[in-house]
């Protein structure tokens, strides 16, 4: 079972629908997370949402508790939430992407996708990862083809994955394949 923690976003149910193609999915608001569902879940997903990671201490706690024990996936805010827990700073960016389709490029540190592969993806983010960023076993594996901003990470040791873009958006071409890859990793 995949347990989605919803940060009151207007895209969370698109994520739920996309994940439902592969497994049973349960979803609760971040303020109403159930311990037993967390324990039952094989995968925990941190949803997109407004604001910044520091606004969601409950999600940070969940991440720290289950890191290494279960597969964890973060999308948009969820991506930032995981990196924030790993010591990253999440900062405002000069150019803001809301409802923007852009190209991301896979680099050689990816174990799941081919180096040089490009994807057209939908983006909805005001904030971004401050770089340089370093955390054990974490690699930035996709970047915006134009700005170079971090778009995806992989931690294949602890099975932790994240996308800054929205694989569930209609703007993302083949988003289903992206999700399938990390679910089966």
């Amino acid at each position: 079972m995949i347990y989605v923690i919803d940060h009151k976003d207007s895209f969370t149910h698109n994520v739920v629908h996309q994940l439902s193609l592969f497994d049973q999915v349960l979803c609760d608001d971040f303020s109403k997370v159930s311990k037993s569902k967390l324990n039952q879940a094989s995968t925990i997903v941190f949803s997109p949402g407004p604001g910044s990671p520091k606004d969601y201490p409950i999600s940070s706690k969940i991440y720290k508790k289950f890191k290494g024990k279960k597969k964890i996936i973060g999308i948009c805010l969820g991506f930032q939430q995981i990196l924030f827990c790993e010591g990253a700073s999440i900062i405002e960016q000069k150019k803001i992407y809301h409802g923007f389709q852009s190209e991301v490029l896979v680099n050689k540190s990816s174990k799941l996708f081919n180096n040089g592969q490009k994807f057209k993806v939908g983006r909805y983010h005001s904030l971004k990862l401050k770089e340089p960023f370093k955390a054990e076993n974490f690699d930035i594996t996709m970047r915006c083809a134009i700005s170079g901003a971090a778009m995806s990470f992989e931690n294949n040791i602890d099975k932790i994955y994240g996308f800054q873009f929205h694989p569930e958006s209609f703007l993302t071409i083949n988003g289903k394949i992206l999700i399938k890859k990390i679910l089966s990793a």
Binding site: S10, F11, V16, G49, E92, H98, G99, G122
Partner: protein, 387 residues
């Protein structure tokens, strides 16, 4: 009744009625046997009435009316701080005993009224609008909202004949969701272009509008489409609404069934062009009327995104209640089939005051002057009726 002067007759009878755009023309609903004024307390039990599994439905087995903005916030537990109130009801539904089909060309001889005052007052001037606008731009930079719609109101104090206004409006602007409610205490005159929900059996669809372009003689529909496609700001705004509406449908639909049927097409109206998409899905089993209302309303395209946080930001900013504005008008059959629009481009006529509310979106690359002007374009077709 003779159909040619049916509107003349009904205006003399002094009983409430509703006219709503239908596929072929209009439907006139009247002879109301019940009038339900919605409150926080009765709304749930009211919605339960429409989950009956009836095999044979009469044409009149339905409730027609509207949900105001505030009661829709109540339903999804979003609080509204104290605002300037007009004590207008939060929602009203009527049970008609008679439905008459009318054709597109509404004929009506208006009552004689002294010349109406054509002056409108705006509640937020450009200076204040710019201030609010800049405040929300900062919030967008921080990621608290991605798009937010600020509401401004135009008011006029004078007596009007609502049926006359509605008929004239349909002549210049035959909007797909046009409606008139004429009751003793109030009227709503609307040329809403936006369908929020069409639900029949287990099929449901929504048709969000995001993107407005003022007409000029050099433009046509094709050029308008080109404009929208090339305009990154309009495209991004529209994309966001499409993903949000997909999300709202996904709450109540079977996984894999939510599809974009028409992606980014142009519709033409009297003063403007709109950028529109059509999204549909198949409902999960056991979805009740209340679940549909709660996931789809208030309609995302007139609020902003993400919905809940943006509603909270809006409600703390706006000093006057939205009343009917960005609520929904339509009907629910006793078996749960329904059609609802979003109440925009509408006049609320109450206690001899006409109130027209409009909103346009703040996104990261919009500018205050353009959005302030867009608001006026949206209100213009209605304000022109008073001349």
């Amino acid at each position: 009744m003779n159909k040619t002067n049916i509107l003349d007759q009904i205006s003399l009878l002094d009983k409430p009625y509703i006219i709503y755009r239908s596929k072929k023309g209009f439907c006139l609903y009247t002879d109301f046997s019940k009038k339900i004024i919605l409150t926080k307390k009765n709304i749930t039990s009211f919605l339960k009435k429409t989950n009956q599994k009836q095999k044979k439905l009469k044409k009149t087995d339905l409730y027609v009316g509207f949900f105001g903005y505030e009661i829709l916030n109540d339903l999804i537990n979003v609080k509204i701080p104290k605002q300037k109130e007009t004590n207008f009801p939060k929602g009203i539904f009527y049970k008609p005993e008679k439905i008459i089909n009318l054709n597109e060309d509404l004929q009506y001889q208006p009552q004689k009224i002294k010349k109406t005052d054509s002056k409108f007052k705006i509640n937020i001037d450009r200076k204040n609008y710019t201030k609010i606008f800049n405040k929300f731009k900062t919030k967008i930079k921080k990621g608290e909202t991605y798009q937010i719609k600020i509401c401004t109101k135009y008011r006029n104090k004078s007596k009007i004949d609502p049926l006359d206004y509605f008929c004239r409006l349909t002549k210049t602007n035959l909007a797909p969701e046009a409606f008139l409610i004429k009751d003793k205490e109030y009227s709503i005159i609307s040329c809403s272009p936006e369908t929020l929900i069409i639900k029949k059996g287990n099929s449901i669809s929504t048709k969000p509008i995001a993107g407005t372009l003022k007409k000029n003689p050099q433009l046509n529909k094709y050029k308008a489409l080109n404009y929208f496609r090339k305009n990154i700001k309009e495209t991004k705004e529209h994309n966001m609404i499409v993903d949000m509406e997909r999300n709202d449908l996904s709450r109540i639909c079977l996984p894999g069934t939510v599809k974009i049927n028409k992606e980014k097409i142009v519709e033409e109206y009297k003063d403007l062009y709109h950028y529109v998409s059509l999204i549909n899905g198949k409902l999960k089993k056991n979805v009740q009327t209340i679940d549909i209302i709660k996931s789809m309303m208030p309609g995302g395209s007139v609020i902003g995104c993400p919905k809940i946080n943006t509603l909270n930001l809006l409600n703390h900013q706006e000093k006057e209640e939205r009343n009917i504005y960005t609520g929904s008008f339509g009907y629910i059959m006793f078996n749960g089939d329904m059609k609802f629009n979003i109440i925009i481009r509408s006049i609320l006529y109450y206690k001899n005051v006409s109130e027209i509310s409009v909103a346009s979106g703040v996104v990261i690359d919009s500018n205050a002057k353009n959005e302030f002007n867009e608001n006026f374009i949206k209100a213009k077709a209605l304000i022109d009726l008073y001349k």
